[in-house]
Amino acid sequence: MDLNQLYTELILEHSQSGHNKRHLNSADCTQRGHNPSCGDDITLELKCDGDKIEEASFTGSGCAISQASTSMMIDLITGKTLEEALELAGKFISMIKKEITDEEELEVLEDSIVFKNISNMPARVKCAVLSWHTLKEAVGKQ
């Protein structure tokens, strides 16, 4: 895989800007997620209004891929209902598993589509899906 396709400007921006990396004042739900084998370790925080994700953020450390994927996910799910967020998680994971390849169907993932090619890098797949698995666990608990 070409590094240009992996470390795109978008990914680098998200991994470095840290605009979603902070504590929420009054999170309803805090969920830790980790990849023990590589050390990615994030904590996702959600603040909901009824069924709707009003605000989301994360803390923790990890590689550029895991950090960017988490940050983009937060952009995407903010304002969505929990159900919609779960659906997006399913889409994202299916994209990585190459179960969904149709670009149109993936459009709802917006910027997160950049991770499509990561399925060609088995060693990095876990980094990209970490935040989405964490989200699923968080929502499952609600």
Binding site: M1, L3, Y7, G39, I65, M121
Partner: protein, 412 residues
């Protein structure tokens, strides 16, 4: 000392001549596993083509031949580490199984409530987790020897941690993360003076340093074939005969028995008592060839070559301002392993990026999470050298490393 010709040596390793991502492979992950020379591969194939049989049990020609090769391998290993007797050489699957054997057999028998087991904070998980289990089951205490600022060990710390209550002291002769080579002979001596027995994990040192178990006087030594040019699936446990003699068997089944009755079994003599089931003769034959190959080159030469490369790489790395090295910065008691981090860049990104330049290095916790926590580093990158690595490979690695921050958006 024989002449050491790395170009000639490289020709013996078919794996090294391949391209990775269109670039020549630069394999710097030797602490994880080494590649195999044709000499070893040929020996394994020759075994299957001419001698293959289940040893120990057969009076037929191939059975006798396989038994001979297997026992010759034991003799080769005995000689390699200067053990007194072949009875002291047990073949296992890898260093991890060797350590588990000691824990399950020696540990379960001898460790008692309030006893102490002392290991170093830089141990591989394989020399920590089995002891957590024993400590837990026996209500004993697992204690850690910590390191100095310079990643070396202070004997005062050893004198503090090893006490009259200490039953077992386990330490890797060379850390697979820091490259530090510990003064195992002194540690063994002190442990013995306190009545403890000692386990040296030679997984990293055996490929590089001449080990003499009589000189070190350790009670146990373990190592793996695959980290020293041998095949996967074969490891060694050395134990002093008088200790092994008193230890209960670990794995049970064929070949390790004397008489089996419905309700009772008596066990075979050493070393067979600790080798259950069909042995890995292929692995033993491959390990024999690997030791032959290493001895032909000479451990002195190997050690010198490792030092040369390590010194060169340390110098280059230290010249890069955003690189931090985890481990001793001079060659004193130091092996051919260098862990480092690149400021602002996660080790996994480093690994992925240099991989596109053909460079294979390792990223992560290197099976030493307690050490990583102690160092306050969630993960590091690691390079490690062996006989076939060259300075120009280090140059390629350094060049690729200099590109890492650019790819990750830090300008140059």
């Amino acid at each position: 000392m024989k002449k050491f010709d790395v170009k000639q040596i490289r020709k013996d390793f078919p794996t090294l001549s391949q391209k990775v991502n269109g670039k020549p492979l630069v394999y710097l992950d030797n602490a994880a596993t080494t590649h195999k020379p044709n000499f070893v591969l040929d020996a394994m194939i020759d075994y299957y083509e001419k001698h293959n049989a289940n040893p120990n049990r057969g009076a037929h020609y191939l059975g006798v031949s396989a038994t001979e090769l297997y026992e010759n391998a034991r003799e080769k290993v005995r000689e390699f580490i200067n053990a007194k007797s072949n009875k002291e050489i047990i073949f296992t699957r890898n260093a991890t199984e060797s350590l588990n054997l000691i824990a399950y057999s020696y540990g379960m028998k001898y460790v008692e409530e309030d006893d102490e087991i002392v290991v170093c904070i830089s141990e591989h998980h394989s020399n920590i987790v089995p002891w957590q289990k024993i400590a837990n089951l026996k209500k004993a205490k697992l204690k850690f020897i910590y390191l100095n600022e310079d990643y070396r060990l202070n004997m005062d710390e050893v004198y503090t941690k090893i006490t009259d209550k200490t039953k077992i002291v386990g330490i890797a002769q060379m850390s697979n993360v820091l490259g530090t080579v510990y003064p195992v002979k002194q540690i063994v001596e002190y442990a013995h003076s306190k009545g403890a027995i000692t386990i040296i994990d030679g997984a990293q040192s055996a490929p590089h340093i001449k080990i003499d178990v009589i000189d070190i006087n350790t009670d146990f030594l373990v190592f793996s074939g695959h980290k020293m040019l041998g095949p996967m699936g074969i490891g060694v446990l050395y134990g002093k005969e008088e200790l092994l003699e008193e230890m209960p068997p670990f794995l049970m089944g064929g070949d390790m028995i004397e008489y089996v009755e419905e309700q009772n079994t008596t066990f075979a003599e050493l070393p067979h008592r600790f080798e259950a089931g069909t042995p890995n003769v292929e692995g033993a034959v491959g390990l024999t060839a690997a030791i032959d190959y290493i001895e032909e080159i000479g451990l002195d030469n190997i050690n010198t070559h490792g030092h040369k490369l390590t010194s060169y790489a340390l110098e280059k790395l230290m010249a890069i301002p955003y690189v931090k090295i985890y481990g001793p910065k001079d060659l004193d008691n130091r092996g051919a392993v260098i862990s480092f981090s690149v400021e602002g860049c996660h080790p996994h990104d480093v690994s992925t990026i240099v991989d596109t330049y053909g460079v294979a290095l390792r990223a992560g916790h290197h099976c030493a999470q307690p050490l990583m926590k102690y160092l306050n580093a969630p993960a590091t990158s690691r390079i490690s050298f062996y006989i076939y690595n060259t300075k120009s490979e280090i140059d390629i690695f350094i060049d690729s490393l200099k590109n890492v921050r650019k790819w990750l958006g830090y300008g140059s």
